[in-house]
Amino acid sequence: DGMNVLFIIVDDLRPVLGCYGDKLVKSPNIDQLASQSMVFSNAYAQARHHPALRFLLLLESSCRKLFHHAQYFKENGYVTLSVGKVFHPGVSSNYSDDYPYSWSIPPFHPSAEKHENDKTCRGKDGKLYANLVCPVNVTEMPGGTLPDIQSTEEAIRLLNIMKTNRQKFFLAVGYHKPHIPLRYPQEFLKLYPLENITLAPDPWVPKRLPSVAYNPWMDIRQRDDVEALNVSFPYGPLPDDFQRQIRQSYYAAVSYLDVQIGLLLNALDNVGLSNNTIVVFTADHGWSLGEHGEWAKYSNFDVATRVPLMFYVPGMTAPSVSQGAGAFPYLDPFSHTGGSAPQGQSKKVVELVSLFPTLAELAGLQVPPACPETSFGVVLCTEGTSIVRYFSISEGKVQEGREGCDDTDRCS
């Protein structure tokens, strides 16, 4: 009777994760999730904004142009909840986070969000700046907190409520980091000493790159620390040392995010919901960390479009958790050693527009039909196809994704 769904979407997280083979990063909690999930190593975003969370729906009655797949779950009996940076604010979410259509209660936005671009980064001169690289003392922050910390607290509070009210839920949690500014608790810098941080493997603008393809990373140029470098437009380059500082802070922000994910998943254990909740983990974009002489995500390069994508489905990608046991003990990135390999991995090239039909199928809902060539008049359709067919199971374990499934009795 339909599992719960915990949908975790992270802003501008490229697959800089242990479970995607990165040797430097410390991401034990996300790696632990991957060790019980079907992991797609070639998942790509489509364009400039969250394509996976939306597909076009023209409801003549309400003249709304955008329909979020949360509404689909809501209309199928789910309590739908949104915490943090799930929908882009503005027209793409009807200037209202698409409430009440998509969400059962008004979406939660962390109060600290409004300070994201304030001058809260302490410079060497002790003054405060709005920098790109911004390790902070959290106690000095407005309200003594950061947006993602607040989002995790709220998501855990909602899980505790869902535990008692026993209704199936679709909880979407959107994390801000590692989106710029790279503002995170300064202690995470200890995980990545600058001497261990290298430049990108190909930090130059490729000779035969057409000029139209190049993105001149305008958004980071407007940050105080980058502006002070007086870097030439459009090709720069940034000084090597600063390039390494950006990469160091991106990694530190990923480990900060990993802690938030660890706390959230451990809370799922603590409320006893790990054995009937599907967990999806993905991102809306990649982010270029100096490759091809570029920063940010405004290009078609794989580093800007490839994202992590994994599905934890208890009883399918991992054995069901026995009562009282946990699937996600919290792992401290400062003390945890050793990695964990993904439970199942598929190298198939997949698109984020497949996320929604896949989730619908995993949750046992009717999978919406594919959109026709011109779909403006169509009330409900999806641009993607379900990728559950790449989840292949034998002996209760998910292995290398194979098309279809040998033993049809055991196919999901």
């Binding site: 790509y44 489509q46 057409p210 000029s211």
Partner: protein, 93 residues
């Protein structure tokens, strides 16, 4: 049984980088980069785009990119101008 393909697209206001190249407003988009990627390659065509009706003109190609992942996983060596890619053009269309 074809290998699955992922599509992405990116808009540009002009052929050379300018202050709004990263995030052009719809009315300023003149070129769209349509990418098709599989396990083996990434093929991108930058073509004329009309923002008034969202139409792309594949007869007017501004530039192209082709990277073969096997020997160029970081996509540093664009071989678009040194290989024939008619079949890729058809496949993208």
């Amino acid at each position: 049984n074809e290998e699955p393909v992922a599509f992405s697209q990116y808009p540009r206001p002009a052929d050379t980088p300018q202050w709004n190249s990263d995030k052009p407003k719809l009315k300023d988009i003149r070129i769209m980069g349509y990418s098709m990627r599989t396990i083996d390659y990434r093929y991108t065509l930058w073509v004329q785009f009309d923002p008034s009706n969202f139409s792309a003109n594949f007869e007017h190609v501004h530039a192209g990119e082709l990277y073969v992942m096997d020997n160029d996983p970081n996509q540093d060596y664009n071989i678009y101008n040194s290989t024939s890619h008619g079949w890729l053009f058809k496949k993208l269309l």
